[in-house]
Amino acid sequence: MDTKGWSEYIFDSSISFTERCLEVYRFQKEKNQLYNLFSGALGYTGATLAGPEAIPLLPIRAFNQGIISVDGVSHQVVFKSSGTSGMNQSSHFIHDIKIYKRAINREFFTHFPDKNYALICYMPGYRDNPNSSLILMAQYLISRDRSGLATFWENSDFNPGKWEEQVNKNGKIPLLFGAAFGLLDIIENGKSPFSGPVEIIETGGMKTFKREITKEQLRKKLSEGFCIPQGSIHSEYGMCELLSQMYAIGDEWFTAPNWVWVTIRDPENPRRICNPGEEGKIGIIDLANVYSCPFILTDDRGVADESGRFKVLGRWNIDDPRGCNFLIDRD
């Protein structure tokens, strides 16, 4: 597989995920020195494997501590995380931005076809980060909209009611897209700025500002604040380290596109895939990351069901690190 073919190959659902994945694994072993060292140290010295479940997942903090990229490619863009909580920013060096856009096109519009929806992006905190992958995604989605209705909502002059009128005239549904706490800020005074029904995509980021709340609490607040049923509230799961996004439509269960495989890993033994219902760290194979590293162990806590859908439960915190932290055994 030459490097020029990847942007087609990884999305080609006529080829099984296993086949595409193992092809990408071979490419990574050959071209990504860092991943080769990592997997080699775990005993994976050859280029062949039984299946995707055997692929070792690189801890996500690698994006925080080094340049994660295959050898010999240039980088068109660098995505950077918001770098909150006193942590260093993660950097994702992107060789081929087309892959990112293709991943957005294929998954976002599957769930939210532009003939039905008009997008309004409310991302105040993110506008300060020129390397935000979310901002680039929003810009791309807005630029693709031929109706001219899709827009950012970024200053006090913007009149959401007037925009909503235009959207309604065009027979579309307003689709409000933003980070969780930005959305909560909109309804802080207890009144939705929209007079009619809207749908919402919240992108998480609940730890970024103010305080951490559960998805359940967030969905309830958004539902009450915007006067919409919880079925109209969707979630996006993405991060600067991934070129693909996953969506939970109307509830908390995320599904992955055909080029992504999400598993829940045992934090004490990341080679082990947790059983359905068992909480662990979210492990992701995102083939769109072919030029950086597609095999990632996140620090997010998650749980999967029998069908492979998964929930994001927050950050994986080590509650019992070293020391006198075992005082209260569970009764």
């Binding site: 990592f38 509650d319 932290n325 075992f326 209260i328």
Partner: protein, 357 residues
């Protein structure tokens, strides 16, 4: 002898009797602990030997003086102690604080250390130093009476709310019960040389109890890089492990950490049961020693950065008693054998109890 002296003498006598080699009850508790797989024999033995040398009458007197102990200051006060189980007998400090003040002891024992502390409680009861004591391995077994007058416990910051909720639900505490909550969970060593004594003390401070104590060193600040010290330090560690095999084994995720460090070219020493890495990180994971090359200024920076979960700062003779941030530097050699008057989370338990009640 005044009555406070007499009280302390009585406690010391009970402890001495408890620690006698022919105390069948303690021997049985040790056997049950070791055979039940709760702790390794070497760890229990070390703990008992340490208590023998740090719980003499004079030590208790010193603690009484330093803390301003008043005889029977907590008479008729119920003190609820939630004991840890990460080290053998780690709850002894709180138990003795209650006994010294004459309070009524209510103890929630750890399921990870179910035999050792009861053998001492029984001895103290025999000597009539504890009356109406209640203790159990389950919180609900302690419920039913009036709420405690004070609560002593240590735990992760994140667990505090759950613990409080559970205790309130069982009416073991009320909204106004004073709580001494200790959350520190690791310690730092600052060394300036690699003399055998220093390196042996460092080895003990890091690897005793598999590094699972809050007084265990998780970060060392040293004037040399790990790579230049790795071989000789490993020799000390192997020698230590020969006599004190590590009882608890690390999870497989430690191998992942090793592989990650290897890929990221982070200097490290992989010891199968432990990992040393030259990389300053929040010491969250067990079985990892973070090595930092630096001087006293580096130490102060590290203390200021990670002060939140920090228990103690240790060093060698030239620095003992000096301050690193708010911490008074303790002897490295005493990391795993502290005097009874040491202050977990910088708070003397007796002083706190007397001030609060």
């Amino acid at each position: 002898m005044n009555s406070t002296d007499q009280h302390i003498s009585n406690i010391a006598d009970a402890i001495t009797e408890w620690l006698q080699p022919d105390n069948f009850t303690l021997r049985e508790a040790i056997d049950n602990t070791v055979n039940g797989g709760y702790f390794g024999f070497e760890d229990v033995k070390h703990r008992i030997l340490t208590l023998k040398s740090t719980l003499k009458k004079g030590d208790l007197h010193t603690w009484a003086q330093r803390s301003g102990l008043r005889l029977n200051s907590l008479e008729n006060k119920k003190i609820l102690c939630l004991h840890a189980g990460n080290l053998p007998l780690v709850g002894i400090h709180d138990l003795l604080a209650v006994v010294m003040t004459g309070g009524t002891y209510i103890g929630k024992l750890s399921r990870k250390d179910p035999y050792l502390l009861p053998s001492l409680i029984n001895k103290l009861e025999l000597h009539k130093l504890i009356e109406n004591a209640q203790w159990a391995g389950r919180l609900d077994k302690l419920a039913g009476g009036s709420p405690a007058d004070a609560l002593l416990f240590s735990g992760s910051g994140k667990s505090v709310k759950n613990v409080e909720d559970r205790l309130s639900e069982l009416m073991l505490i009320s909204g106004s019960t004073p709580k001494l909550i200790r959350t520190a969970n690791f310690s730092i060593a600052f060394i300036t040389d690699n003399n055998p004594e220093t390196m042996q003390d460092l080895t003990e401070a890091v690897f005793r109890y598999g590094g699972s104590g809050c007084r265990s060193v998780a970060i060392v600040v040293a004037p040399f890089h790990l790579n230049s010290e790795k071989c000789s330090f490993t020799d000390y560690i192997e020698s230590f492990w020969l006599n004190n095999p590590q009882f608890n084994k690390p999870p497989k995720s430690l191998e992942y950490r090793y592989a990650y460090n290897h890929a990221m070219k982070i200097p490290q020493a992989w010891l199968q049961d432990f990992l040393i890495e030259e990389n300053l990180d929040i010491p969250q994971e067990k079985y990892i020693l973070h090595w930092v090359k630096g001087d006293f200024n580096t130490l102060e920076n590290v203390v200021s950065r990670f002060g939140n979960g920090l228990q103690s700062v240790y060093s060698t003779s030239g620095f003992i008693g000096k301050k690193a941030g708010p911490y008074i530097i303790e002897p490295l050699s005493q990391a795993q054998s502290p005097p009874i008057w040491w202050k977990p989370d910088q708070t003397d338990t007796i002083t706190w109890l007397q001030n609060e009640l």
